[in-house]
């Protein structure tokens, strides 16, 4: 009786209650329709997961083409020639972050540890997916391996030149990169 009085006590109460019920039903129907449509489209409207996968695939194929010659020369350990080709690629595709990865690999393999760390940092800062193991661009393992090796070398160099600011800065950058590769919340 109390509830009836509360919701249908007078004409205004009845009008309000009925209006509320109608609005609720309309909203529920609209939401259900929208949900059904999203399910039919496999949630494409939300995450764009398929679109992203397609985009990654395109990028990987494009990178493969762009860096084909660099990769070939790098594989043959012709580092000077690879560097020359890489410089040309960097001029033609200034926005492509993978060039920093190749740059770092070349520097690492030619013993330029400090420069290699700086290049890895540029790569990771311009493309966080390089250290995201949920994406096909993930290169975290390779980067971490290089960092671990570089750390030993740099620590030894620091012993012989304890006041060398460049090495200290490189070690700081290296630790930063190790934390980035380790993951966690950004």
């Amino acid at each position: 009786m109390a509830i009836k009085d509360k919701f249908f006590g007078n004409a205004l109460d009845s009008f309000t209650t009925v209006s509320l019920a109608v609005l609720l039903v309309i909203t529920a129907v609209m939401l259900a329709q929208h949900g059904a449509m999203a399910l039919q489209e496999k949630g494409a409207s939300v995450s764009g997961k398929e679109l992203a996968d397609e985009m990654y695939q395109k990028r990987l194929e494009q990178d493969k083409k762009i860096y084909k010659e660099v990769q070939r020369l790098f594989g043959m350990r012709m580092y000077t020639a690879a560097e020359e080709v890489l410089q040309k690629v960097q001029r033609d595709h200034p926005d492509n972050p993978r060039s920093f990865i190749y740059q770092a690999r070349l520097q690492y393999n030619t013993g330029k540890m400090v420069e290699a760390i700086s290049s890895y940092r540029q790569a990771v800062d311009s493309e966080p997916d390089f250290v995201d193991n949920n994406t096909p661009l993930f290169l975290g393992k390779e980067i971490m391996d290089h960092l671990v090796a570089a750390k030993t070398t740099l620590a030894q160099e620091l012993k012989s030149r304890p006041k060398d600011e460049e090495i200290r800065k490189a070690l700081d950058e290296l630790l930063y990169l190790q934390r980035r590769v380790a993951g966690g919340c950004e």
Binding site: A38, S45, A52, G183
Partner: protein, 354 residues
């Protein structure tokens, strides 16, 4: 539930929270962030497009679980009491600055314990900062700096935050187009929805019943040597440590720690801010969510401040990255401390006048 005494329940809640959080990382949540209220709020703000980092956009089911778990438990035990009206704007901004502090440290007090439990020694400075902030806040409490008393409000006020929780849950399942979800970065790192939701509901219910709060537990220990909630805080750390050790996630040291930085002074100051603000609003970020679920409208206002803070932390860069704190974050931390102290002083003076 009634067979358990409160200290036992506090310990049980701590064990479930600490252990559950590390388990969630095994199921897919970001490393050392199995449960982190500030990270989750940043993700939520992104999902609602209040900030535009897609990599940080996801409605975390755990967060919804905490809110609704507390709501159901409070209703079940007739502890759903609708109160509010105590210094709403101040609470809003204290919520805002609490999340700024968390952003500069990279993690809320729960994540701080999880990071310590996983061997991350960079969190020690934060722990010291939080202890100092709470100790300082306790001193001010003793001196009479307390926000206004809350009043009873019409029941509908208490249903608004749980209502938003239900709406977020609906969004999680229906995935409407205006909800943003990242497919790379931390957003893509998540445990299966049902597991996250179940863990969230369980922890939310237990936390409502036990009143577990990181800052509240430490504050009570400092003020009255009262160990009920404090034992829960210790339980979070111990269980996180145990599960980390058993699951091979323990990595002792300061280097290669996920979601960390080496600016210890800023970690310290950021957590002084969190500790101090939490004492003034009576509860850490986690406790605010739980209280909002049990009808505390003031905590609801603080939650809105926290969501706004979470959005601005990303949009205005009021935070740290693995490289260290961003300048904007440093300034915001200092402004937060200034705000807290100004509030404390003005309330102290108001009380003295009365």
């Amino acid at each position: 539930m009634s067979r358990f005494k409160l200290p036992d329940l506090s310990i049980i809640t701590g064990i479930v929270l600490g252990g559950g959080a590390v388990m969630l990382t095994l199921f897919g949540n970001p490393v050392n962030s199995g449960i982190c209220i500030s990270c989750f709020l940043e993700n939520l703000a992104g999902a609602l497009q209040l900030q535009d980092s897609v990599r940080m956009s996801y409605i975390r089911p755990e967060l919804v679980g905490f809110l609704l778990g507390a709501f159901f438990m409070a209703k079940q035990n007739r502890r759903f009491r609708v109160t509010g009206g105590s210094s709403p704007l101040i609470r809003f901004f204290l919520g805002f600055f609490m999340i700024v502090g968390c952003g500069v440290f990279i993690g809320c007090p729960i994540k701080m314990l999880l990071r310590l439990g996983a061997g991350d020694l960079t969190a020690v400075a934060a722990l010291l900062g939080m202890l100092f902030g709470i100790w300082l806040g306790g001193k001010y409490l003793r001196a009479g700096s307390v926000l206004d008393r809350a009043q009873n409000l019409p029941t509908i006020n208490g249903y608004i935050l749980p209502g938003i929780g239900f709406l977020l849950l609906l969004f999680l399942f229906l995935k409407p187009a205006f909800i943003q979800q990242g497919f790379s970065g931390p957003a893509a790192q998540h445990a299966p929805l049902w597991i996250s939701l179940a863990v969230g509901l369980l922890i939310g219910g237990l936390a409502q019943r036990s009143g577990l709060c990181i800052t509240g537990g430490i504050r009570n220990f400092f003020l009255f040597r009262e160990k009920t909630l404090f034992s829960g805080v210790i339980a979070i750390f111990v269980s996180a440590l145990m599960v980390s050790l058993v699951s091979g996630q323990f990595n002792l040291g300061m280097e290669a720690q996920p979601g960390a930085h080496h600016s210890h002074l800023w970690s310290f100051l950021a957590m002084v801010l969190v500790g101090l603000a939490a004492v003034i609003v009576d509860g850490c970020p986690f406790r605010q969510v739980i209280k909002a679920g049990e009808g505390d409208v003031d905590a609801g206002i603080t939650c809105f401040g926290m969501v706004t803070g979470a959005a601005m932390v990303i949009t205005w860069q009021l935070r740290s990255t693995s490289a260290g704190p961003v300048f904007n974050g440093q300034i915001a931390t200092l402004l937060g401390l200034i705000f807290c102290l100004t509030v404390i002083l003005s309330y102290r003076k108001a009380r003295v006048k009365r």
